[in-house]
Symmetry: C2
Subunit: 209 residues, 2 copies
């Protein structure tokens, strides 16, 4: 029954979680977005300047003004109530993975375009996988070398990192397969013969109970 407009949502809790790790300015928080957090909960930077204010309004964090020359900046720090709220949130259920994939949408409608359009889309997807993989490997190497940030969080980060790596791998492997399949399509994809082998393989699978 909190007053409207300042309700805590998942984005707010993501900020709260970051504050549980240490105190941050919002600018620093925004930069962290490019690394771990943004892979799981991508949001525009400008959002991140609003959410901590809600936390303060709820007593879950406190804001301190600091100065760089005459320019002010705001450092947020979690409160004990904030740690309690985070623990409570961690104990509640949540949403499964939600995927938004424009390039795959183009493949979904590839029968209304050209074969080379479809191949280009696959190539972009493959490139995406390659880039992500390079990032993941670089981060893992940092932890193995003992130079990764927040080494005390390495246990949790390894579990999440493994997911992100498996994910990028899977996308890359799919792209290789799709490239081979689509290369065999005729110029007009609407006339392509289905990859029956793939469908049969899926259909033949036993379901876990």
């Amino acid at each position: 029954m909190s007053s409207r407009g300042d309700a805590l949502n998942t984005t707010t809790y993501a900020m709260l979680g970051m504050l549980a790790v240490r105190s941050w300015t919002t600018y620093e928080l925004a930069k962290q977005m490019d690394r771990g957090l943004g892979r799981l909960w991508p949001r525009a930077r400008s959002n991140l300047f609003n959410e901590p204010k809600k936390l303060v309004a709820h007593g879950l964090a406190v804001a301190a003004q600091e100065y760089t020359g005459r320019r002010a900046r705001t450092v947020y720090t979690i409160t004990p109530a904030g740690r309690g709220a985070l623990r409570a949130w961690l104990a509640t259920p949540g949403q499964g993975p939600v995927l938004e994939f424009e390039l795959m949408l183009k493949i979904f409608f590839a029968d209304h375009g050209s074969r080379s359009d479809a191949l280009a889309a696959v190539a972009h997807i493959r490139e995406w996988a390659r880039e992500r993989n390079a990032e993941n490997v670089a981060i893992a190497r940092g932890y193995v070398a003992g130079t990764g940030p927040f080494p005390e969080r390495a246990a949790v980060l390894a579990v999440v990192g493994r997911f992100l790596t498996d994910y990028a791998d899977m996308v890359g492997a799919w792209a290789d397969w799709a490239d081979a399949v689509i290369k065999d399509w005729p110029e007009d994809p609407a006339a392509a013969r289905p990859a029956w082998a793939a469908l049969e393989q899926i259909a033949a699978r036993r379901l876990a109970e």
Copy 2:
């Protein structure tokens, strides 16, 4: 330079792609969302009632009123200009996969909660994978049996379907692994030892050039 507010976005093009397959009422379109399209471009149903109006405003589709008793309903049909616009869109680049994953976020912050919270999150993820897998297998069986909808699109659907299946598989396999790892954590996950083997395996990977 089209007038503001009615610009075509990805959601609009997704609708246009559906109309390239056949004519639909918006209600039917919304139902289709639950199947293929919604897995790649999830949107709330109410959205789907707005987008086709843009298509009509741009001359890419036409709307026809039909009646069920005294109740009107709108059937949308693509125009030749619409097919051209779809082809043009298919030839442009697009975004790679964007993931939003609340449950994984909870694992990312698991060191501020309890071990059983983390195990519960993993269990939910595993359940998600199991459900998706059951759906995927059922759909593939339909196509193999020759009873799937839009059999003329089977070639494209097999390529996308394989991706969605690989995706659900990967999530399920990760959940099994994570469950085993986290079961070995102490009560307080902040004190857990990292899964070094996983990190080293990632770090050791050669990068594709």
